[in-house]
Amino acid sequence: MPSPSAVLPPLFADWFARRGWAPHPHQLALLEAARRGRSALLIAPTGGGKTLAGFLPSLIDLAERPRDGLHTLYISPLKALAVDIQRNLTAPIVELGLPIRSETRTGDTPAHKRQRQREQPPQMLMTTPESLALLLSYPEAAAMFAGLGAIIIDELHALAGSKRGDLLALGLARLRRLAPDCRRVGLSATVAWPDDLAAWLGSGGAEVARLVASGGAKPDLAILATREELPWSGHMALHALGEVYEAIKRHRTTLVFVNTRAQAELCFHELWRLNDDHLPIALHHGSLAVEQRRKVEAWMAAGRLRAVVATSSLDLGIDWGDVDLVVQVGAPKGVSRLTQRIGRANHRLDEPSRALLVPANRFEVLECRAALAALGRGELDGERPRPGGLDVLAQHILGMACAGSFTADALHAEVTGAAPYAGLKRADFDAALGFAENGGYALSGYERWRKLFRDSLGRYHIVSDAVARRYRMNIGTIVEASMLKVRLGRGKVLGEVEEYFAGTLTPGDTFMFAGQLLAFEGVHGNDLIASRAGGGAPKVPAYEGGRLPLTTHLAAGVRALLADPRAWRDLPAAVQEWLRLQRHRSELPGPEGLLVESFPRGPHDYLVAYCFEGRNAHQTLGMLLTRRMERAGLKPLGFVATDYVLAVWSLEPARDLDALFDQDMLGDDLEAWLAESSLMRRTFRSVAIIAGLIERKHPGQEKTGRQVTFSADLIYDVLRKHQPDHLLLRAARADAASGLTDIRRLGDMLARVKGRIAHRRLDRVSPLAVPVLLEIGREAVYGAALDHLLDEVTAELLHEAGIAPAPAARTSAS
């Protein structure tokens, strides 16, 4: 390790000394790498002066050789983080008297400032992947970025592997061409796959040095040993919030993490109900109005809060030094995620972070225990970055055409330099280019309206500036559900809810939002109008997504724990008792193989499979199993999936389980179900928007705030029938396979358990099956049941009208 004085110029060494700081070894190592012109990936726990490490080489370079022109580009996944970083960097720039202008450039930057930034760029520009894509689409991009010396990408672990990451990697490949000598710095939390991350950062360029900062003191972790009775099911952990409140009182500042926005609302509400001491406790989640979130963050930074209840909206962001406790309510779902959340507490490396896990039910106790064991062994999990999306590629190609003409060969060579597209087939590139050109349809009717034309030299150009204007209005890969603004009367906007939630309300219904009890009055345009409500049982907004599935790694930990009775000693007595009873009445799921129980209950027969493959994989399995049971005449009525278990109920009992769970269900059945599923339709909509088929905004329409929407469902149905191999359908299938359906994981499991299914036929529900059966009333019922439900409604109505006999057997359990 070089000594600080050898590396730091005197001006900077003095500045560190004045502040009473000693440079961290990783800050100096990064400086060394930069001096040699090398790109570097810095992996460090939150804190530890990571951001300063990234900027230090640029500050020194500009201090030694002051010059105009864009020098350093900083890219963050969060607008707010870009703004905070710009503000924080002002301190060293002013204190060191450096001739550096630093500015932010986000979607909120006013037009005149954007214009100036393109003509006279600052030396340091803080921006987001979307704004970078926008800058790269202008013909001036070549001049603007020609002198670029450094690119700093913050929170790299949150970008690589996502579609935003795909877009950024393609942008990096373009920057490599515009500024070949520019070095890159990636800043990342600890991840399970650093090699992939380094390859990603190197997109199209030279090898990347890897620097790993020391982890500091080991965290101090505990699972709440509740005095209350441990619930059998549910995810809200309301039973334990009294104890969480006590913990908040004992600490200076507590971050209370939950897994969903609905949990956040309920948890916040309950904590305030208990808050006899009037502690300043705030709420933070992604649906709240931006101003409200910024306010909470500012209070937090100023040390004015004792606790914040937050979702993953606070997983990333600026560091707060004062947090001395992190509470995780509900199961952590993944070890890496838990590590990152725990890292939000106490950023002084020499003091341990303190964290308290609060399981909401018995299975979650097992999951928390398995997570702690994995943390103790220093293990991490999470998905490796997947190949880049063809929809993002199509968007990028159009953007590059807006910047200037290109030949297909040159652009193909450029984009395959981006790590997510390293394996891109030429035929797929050509299909994406064809899509950008005129939709890429086999039926060629659209030549006269195409967006790109090819000149006699084979160079592609946009046909008009209007194409570029529209492209620039629709940049980005974040696709949101249709949202309504929640407005108090005619006044303040509290935040947003998914449109479909509003559809479930009737005037007078109460619901909880932004920590208040509101009464629904109606929908006007894009606003959901509400008033403050006095009381009543509230509905809680149920949000799409937000529920991450249990990771494979953590699932294996839970299975291992179940299978090893000696390890039960550390579990709460009630949980031990529950597992012992299960062993007595049925058996415990082993670390390998698959335990399936079946038993009669009421008029139905239940089948419970202990797969431990996460909710998404279980839902897919449920869909496929019910189709197969339908064909076998078992008359399935519905199913419910949790992270651990799948339960299916039917009129007839299932007997031949080997046949039922055969891998061949991943063939035609999967195709047939997936093609019709609402999940595929949602996925297609996102793909169509990202690729630019459906525009989010249209010139002339932006002022009204009304979106130009065309039903993606209708396009999907027509395209599927008439051109099933179209680029958008292939992109949607690829997304569905890796994302919400978890088909790969399901396939791995079916292969693993083949010939190893243990079927227990029981005369009644087993202790381990109780939790999933309790979910039946709360969770939506899926599968073949929907058709039956429609028939049920019809039969009910006929019955009311005195036309047909009552539907006897067709009612499903709930």
């Binding site: 349809y441 009717g445 559809g503 459906i694 039903s711 027509v718 429609l790 409604v793 109505l797």
Partner: protein, 229 residues
């Protein structure tokens, strides 16, 4: 395909097809509304490259239904083309599909607001305003004051029902004792919820829908639908 559902309207026995068409068996008359042919190319010329297969999808379905019921006449209740230039953009194959349909059944084009008068070279007969047959009156847009025995299109009605936490939506027929409204038949035609004010004004009291979803037709009273109240 599921069996069509029989309904009785203004003293006439009709059949509701799951594809979204209405049949008058006694007259061998097939009725469809809002085909919106060439909607895809209408968007394409403004730079939104929707798949160019909507016209063939719509015409293939129409031909299939007409054949299944051996229709003698096919009555299109207006907005048959998405815009006035639509017929000019029709490609040769689709024009041939239309000609073939016209050879097996008489085509009657009611003028709509998107396509005031489909051109004569498409074959068939153009009717302005209303088409009357027996106790029934067919129009493009429902008349607010006149109702008895009126069958119309234009609004593209759709409805939703909540089934244990999940919402199911689809195009629908709407009817009360005076009026019957058809869903849009066109592959790219969107929808308007039956509780939107424009539709509620035409069906102010009790009404029923025939919901087209999950490849079946389900008759539901308005009070059972999502959004009621």
């Amino acid at each position: 395909m599921p069996e069509p559902q029989p309904i009785r309207f203004n003293g006439v026995d009709l059949l509701v097809e799951a594809e979204g068409a209405l049949l008058w068996p006694e007259e061998r008359l097939l009725i469809v509304a809002d085909l919106h042919l060439e909607k895809g190319s209408s968007f394409a010329r403004r730079g939104v490259m929707l798949p160019p297969y909507d016209t063939r999808a719509t015409l293939e379905r129409l031909a299939r239904v007409a054949e299944r019921h051996d229709a003698r006449r096919v009555l299109c209740l207006g907005d048959s083309f998405h815009d006035g230039d639509g017929p000019a953009r029709l490609d040769a194959e689709d024009a041939a599909r239309l000609t073939a349909l016209g050879a097996s059944a008489e085509l009657i084009w009611l003028a709509g607001n998107h396509d005031p008068a489909p051109p004569p070279e498409l074959g068939g007969r153009v009717v302005e305003g209303a088409f009357r047959l027996g106790p029934l009156t067919f129009r493009h847009i429902a008349e607010p004051l006149f109702a008895a025995g009126e069958i119309s299109g234009h609004y593209h009605p759709k409805a939703s029902i909540d089934l244990r936490g999940r919402r199911l939506s689809g195009r629908c027929f709407v009817l009360d004792e005076h009026r019957l409204m058809l869903p849009a038949f066109g592959a790219y035609a969107g929808g308007l919820d039956v509780f939107e004010p424009a539709l509620r004004a035409l069906f102010p009291g009790d009404f029923a829908v025939h919901l087209l979803a999950r490849e079946r037709v389900t008759r539901l009273p308005h009070a059972r639908l999502a959004g009621y109240g």
